[in-house]
Amino acid sequence: VNVEVAGTAGAMPDGPLKLAVPRGALLEGTLDALDAAGVDTGAVRGESRALIFPSEGIVLVTMRPSDVPTYVEAGAADVGITGKDVLLEQSDRMVYELLDLGYGRCRMVLAGRRGDERLGEAQRRLGMMRIATKYPRVAERHFESTGRQVETIEVKGSVELAPLVGLADGIVDLVATGRTLEENDLEVREEIVECTARFVANRVAHKLRATEIDELTAKLREATGG
């Protein structure tokens, strides 16, 4: 009869936990949350161009927010932080969403040119709108669920440009303060979903490194007041 505590015998995790940290707009909030959770982020805040920062009992791996689900799904990072917008757009990436961290709050919206009826006109007379976006799947799902036909045009850079020069009738994009829209003479027409930073985990890591991940989740929950 085996008397060893089950689950501890087989699972021998390799090295410290790897945490995928999003660069860009979520970086500041993420580092603050990690600091408050007792993870030393000093090295990431420095001038270093390194991508990997070993810390006390945890390794911080920095990357684009949209790469976080890729790394976490494959187990190249055990846990990670990224925006809900990224998770919605990559909903086929199988990661566990453990915690709403609350910061990085912004809205996914449909926007059109101020005072311009092109969106409505296109819908009414052509039965189809052209929508430029970095989030084609979120956009398609939104219009499908509201029974409208659209042509989504995926762009990589400044989406605001598309309706200004006639590439699209409107855009679906993330809005934090709304200033970029305003400066480009665009206005919000519909709100699609509200997005915040989320703490995610790899499926296998969540099972086999349960204690470490639960502890980090609890600390982050406390740190972000969730």
Binding site: N2, A6, K207, A210
Partner: protein
Amino acid sequence: MRELRRLHLALVEVFESRGYGEVATPAIEYDEVLARGDGRTANSAYRFFDERGDLLTLRSDMTVPIARLVASRFAETEEPLRFCYLANAFRAVRPQRGQMREFAQAGVELIGLPAPTGTVEVVEVLTAALDATGLDRAVIGLGDADLYRQLLSELGVEGPDRDAILANLAMHNLVGLETELERAGIGREQVDTCVTLSQLRGGREVLDRAREIGGEAVERATARIGRTFEALEQQGVAARVQVDLGLLRDLGYYSGAILEVYDPALGHVLGGGGRYDRLLERFGVDLPAAGFALYLERVHVAQLEEEARREGAS
């Protein structure tokens, strides 16, 4: 291919030495047949018509085809029936290493033995199969498919609310789970109970912690898992097993014990299975059953990763 074939042979030897006879079924089934086994298969990815206009489907696993086989060809045979297979199945996934749209599964189905005896035998075979692959760090998660269904009916949650909650549980989206639980209008305490339960995983002490949370559904599920776990300990095959109350496999036919297999060297699940005591009656024979399947390509990748790790360590 040579490595894959060696793996295949090693697994079949384990299965056959325990009395599991290899069977084969066609990759193409009538859609109606698969849909009868698992409502979800009605959304199966690859469907087409035959020359008479009948709807056909590429099978997404082997359990339902074997259930059909049992009903049509072995209904009169004395139980228990022991079958094993190595077969390709098809699912719509984003193709990546260890996850192709066509993939090989090696597994067993044990028909006619109820819980916990049948479950224990299946875990025993699974343990031996993992031993044969050399994945000595692999872990078997043991959960209960009925836990949340029963808990939600105890709380009076039904219909779309219930489906949305179960979907979030299967995806393990805790943020969405909490939102849906709140939307279902149950008390704060009940919301916390569900969320906390889904996070309980580890040794058998997990069952005590679950029992403290209370409730009739939790009591029944923990009793079921506890009985299975004790029987596994008596058989000496509990070492790899981790109790996991957050397990909820997304196939519709499971009931009672469910299993999932992991290796620390690979970020993807290696395989899974469980009891499907109510599946065979949909094909006209009312028999308890359990089984598991390993994703062969993933086991192969895990072997490679473990090998690289051992070489790196030495």
